[in-house]
Assembly symmetry: C3
Homo-oligomer: 343 residues x 3
Amino acid sequence: MAKTNAGRFFEDYKIGDVIEHAVPRTVSGGERAMYHALYPMRHALYSSDQFARDCGLPESPLDDLAAFHVVFGKTVPDVSLNAIANLGYAEGRWLQPVYEGDTLRSVSEVIGLKQNSNGKSGVVYVRTQGLNQLDDVVLEYVRWVMVRKNDLDAPAPETVVPELKTVIPASDLVIPEGLNFGAYDFTLAGEPHRWGDYEVGEVIDHVDGVTIEEAEHMLATRLWQNTAKVHFDATFRPDGQRLIYGGHIISMARALSFNGLANAQMIVGLNGGAHANPCFSGLTVKAWSEVLDKAETSAPGVGAIRLRLVATCGGEAFKLKGEDGKYLPEVLLDLDYWALMPL
Amino acid sequence: MAKTNAGRFFEDYKIGDVIEHAVPRTVSGGERAMYHALYPMRHALYSSDQFARDCGLPESPLDDLAAFHVVFGKTVPDVSLNAIANLGYAEGRWLQPVYEGDTLRSVSEVIGLKQNSNGKSGVVYVRTQGLNQLDDVVLEYVRWVMVRKNDLDAPAPETVVPELKTVIPASDLVIPEGLNFGAYDFTLAGEPHRWGDYEVGEVIDHVDGVTIEEAEHMLATRLWQNTAKVHFDATFRPDGQRLIYGGHIISMARALSFNGLANAQMIVGLNGGAHANPCFSGLTVKAWSEVLDKAETSAPGVGAIRLRLVATCGGEAFKLKGEDGKYLPEVLLDLDYWALMPL
Amino acid sequence: MAKTNAGRFFEDYKIGDVIEHAVPRTVSGGERAMYHALYPMRHALYSSDQFARDCGLPESPLDDLAAFHVVFGKTVPDVSLNAIANLGYAEGRWLQPVYEGDTLRSVSEVIGLKQNSNGKSGVVYVRTQGLNQLDDVVLEYVRWVMVRKNDLDAPAPETVVPELKTVIPASDLVIPEGLNFGAYDFTLAGEPHRWGDYEVGEVIDHVDGVTIEEAEHMLATRLWQNTAKVHFDATFRPDGQRLIYGGHIISMARALSFNGLANAQMIVGLNGGAHANPCFSGLTVKAWSEVLDKAETSAPGVGAIRLRLVATCGGEAFKLKGEDGKYLPEVLLDLDYWALMPL
C-alpha cells in the first residue's frame, strides 16, 4: 500500500510550501456538453459562439464554474483527501476565459496554518492558481480546510492566519480583454433586465428546482477528476450515503439562477462561500439570490453586480439563518460572487 | 419574483406574433457523444464522417432528432411553460443538416388560437423554425399545445385554426444537397434491407428495450436546454414523479428502430405525432414500426419511406388503439415521419 | 420480424469466415469527456495534450480501453448477441493510438470452433481487428464466447482450437511511434514511482471504490454502441436486474488503479482476462493489482510492466480464488495486461 496516495495530514503542510498538483487537463466541446447536460445552464455567452463574438470574445468560453471545478479537482488529492470540512473560500478571481483546447493545471501555496485546540486537526489555508498551457493564470482563489493530523505528537506549527479580503473591491476585478456589452442582445440572452434594473438589497426567487441523482453528481465530480472517496463509495460512510461534492451544488444553484439573472453572464469574483449543510441524492435543490452590491467597470457597456446565491433543499426562499445565527438546516450553500452584466 | 419568467398564458398570444426564442447554441462533438450515450443510436451516417462522405455529405451531421430537440428546447420557456398538454405536430421538415460548429436559434410564429369552451384554457398553434448562424432555416415544424389562461376574464380571441397537411407530400421533402446513396455500403450500415425490400403495410417489431432512468432523461432534457419544471423537480407533481420529456421517448424509439430499419438513415419529414401516454422512470420502452408509404426522390439512389413509429412500455407489438378508438395505456408515442433510404 | 437481427447461432460460424462489423465510428473530444465522466480516469497522457506532446505524441489520444470498447462494441451484434458467456481474451495488442477525428471499424475472423458435448452450444473463437480510416489496424485481440445453437440438429463442425499465447512476449509489444519518456514529468503525472520501483510479485491495493449506478453503465455501454439487451432491459432477465457490461468493470478497475499505478500510462497488451462473476447496480467496485513481469523496450525511457488487475465487490484485497481453485464470489474481473511506464 506504500505506493498509493494516503493524502497529506495537517503536520505535512509548511507555510510557503508550493504544491504542483497533478494531472493537467485539456478541455474540449465534450466538457461543455457534459456540463450543460448536468446543469440547466443557459447563459448565452457560454452557449453560443456567435453570441460570444458579438460580445467581443473570440468564441464561447468554458463556463467559469466548470473552469473552477477543473482547477479545484486537481487540488483534492493534495489538499482535501483527509479533510474533515471545507471551511471557506475568499479572494477568488477569474483572470482569463478558458477556451476549447486549453490545458489547465493547478498550483497551490500554503499561506496559513492553525492547529485546533484539540490537537487532532488544524486549518490549512491555500492560495490556488489555475494555469493554462501558456502559463497564464486563468483563475485563483483561497480556500481553507480542516485537516486531520496523522501523528498526534507532531508539534503544532506557528499559527499563521492570512489576512483575506471579505469582499474583492470592484476595482480588482479583471474584465476579459475585448469584452463589450454595447451591442448586447437581450432577446437572445433570455431576459430584458439590465444592470440598472437591479437594486442593492433586491432578492430573487429562482423558482425552478432539480432533484439530485447519484449518477449525475458522480459524473460531474469525476469529470473534474476530483477523487474524494466520500462522493463515490456508498460503503465509505456509516450511513451508506454518498456525500455530494459541494461544487455540484454551486453549479446547480448558479444554473437555476438563470431564471431572474439571465444577464449575470460572467463570473469574475468569488468573495466567499459556505457549504452550509451536506447534500444527498433525492433532495430537490432550489435557489434564491440577493443583490449585495453594484459597481461600474471600465469595459464598454459592462457593469459588475455582487450577488449572494443561496441553494436550499426545502423551506422558504429568502430564509438563511435561524435566531441562533446558524444556517437553517435546509440551506445548502451561501455563495458571494461578482458577475458581469450589461448596463 | 418580478424578474423570473412566469411563461406566457393563453391570453398573451396574438395571431401573427413572432417570438424570437432565447439562448442560441453552438453544437460540437460533445453533443453527439452525449446523444449516442443517451440513446442506442447506430445509424452509420451519423456515426462516421467517412460513411457520411461516401454518401456525398461533407461530414457526419448532428442526428436529426438532436437538432430537433435543440430547436424545440428553446421554445419551451415561451410556448409551453404553462402548457397543460402538447397536442400535436405537423408539417415538420428538415431543410439542411446541422454540423459541428453550427449555432442554432429558434423563432416561432403564432398561427392559430382557439379558446376552449371551459374558458380556462386554449389551444395555441405555432410554426417554429430553427436557424443556423447564416440565418438558413435548418428545420421547421408546427406544434399545438393547450395553454392555461391566467386572467380568466380576458376575452376569447377570434378562433383561427390553421389548415395543416396531415401528410407532407413526398415532393415537398428536402433532400440534403449532394446526398447520393449510389455507393451505399450496406455492410457497414448494418442491414441489407433496401427501400425496395419494404412494403407498404409491413410492420416491424424492433425487439430491443431500454429501461428508463431518472438521470438519463434529465441529462437529455437539460442538454436541449428545455426548462420545464415537471421533468426535473420530483416535488412538483403531487405523485412525486418526474414526467419524462416526450422528446426522450421519440429519440429512444427512433434509436431502437435501428434493428429492422438500419437504413432509414435520415429523417426529413414529421407528418404528425402524439404523446399517447406519459412515461416515468422505471418503465421499459420498446418500439415497433409500420411502413405507411414510399416515394421516389430526385437524388441518386435515394428513396423516401413514410413510417409510423410506436413506442410502448408493455403489451403486445402492433397494438395501437382499443375498441374505443383511444390509444392503449401502454402506448407512449405514435409518430409519423419520412426517412431517406438507399434504393 | 424477418428484418431484425436475431444474431448468429453457433451453427452459423465457419472457420475462416471474415465478418465486417457494422457502424463505423468517428471519435471526438466528446467521447473522451464522457469516458472521463464515467470513470475516474487520471492518466496524464490521456488528459493533457501538452503532457502527451512532452512524451513525443502529437496530442492526447483516446484512452486505450475506450478504443477497445469502440472496436468491441461493433462485434456484439455479430458475435455475442446469442452468447451464453464471454469466456476469454488473448493476444490483445494496441498497435497505434487513436486520435480525435479517427473513424474506427471492426473486422473479425473466425479462428476456432468447438461444439459442447451437450450439443446445445459451442465455443466460437474470433480474432478481431479495429481499423481506422486509413485502414491501419489500431488494435487487435482474440476472444472466445459460448454461443447457443438454434438448430440443435445442425452437425457439429470439425473442432478447431487455436493455439494462443498465454502471454504476449514483450518483444511483440508495439510502442507508439515517437514515444519518449525521457523528459517524463512525475509531478504532473501524480506519482513518483517509476518502472524500477516496482518488483515482480508486488501487490497494490488501490484503495478507492465506486458504487455502480444503472444510468452510468448504460451510458457507457451505449456510447460503445454495444447492443446486448441484457445490459439495458430490466424485463429481460427473470430477476429484473440489468447485467453490467464486462467492459464497464474493466474500465472502472483500470481507472481505480491510478492510485498506485499512475505511471502505468499506456496499455499495449492484453494477455488474458476473465469476467469472474457478474456485476449489478448497487455494488461497490474496488481494485488491486499484482506485478507479474517487467521488460525493457527499445523506446527511450520506456519500460513495460505486466500487471494483473483484479476488480472486486467486497471481501479482502489480494484474495483471488478459493481452495477449490474457483474465483471467489466477490471477484468480478481478473485481467492480465502490459502497460508502458517511465524507467
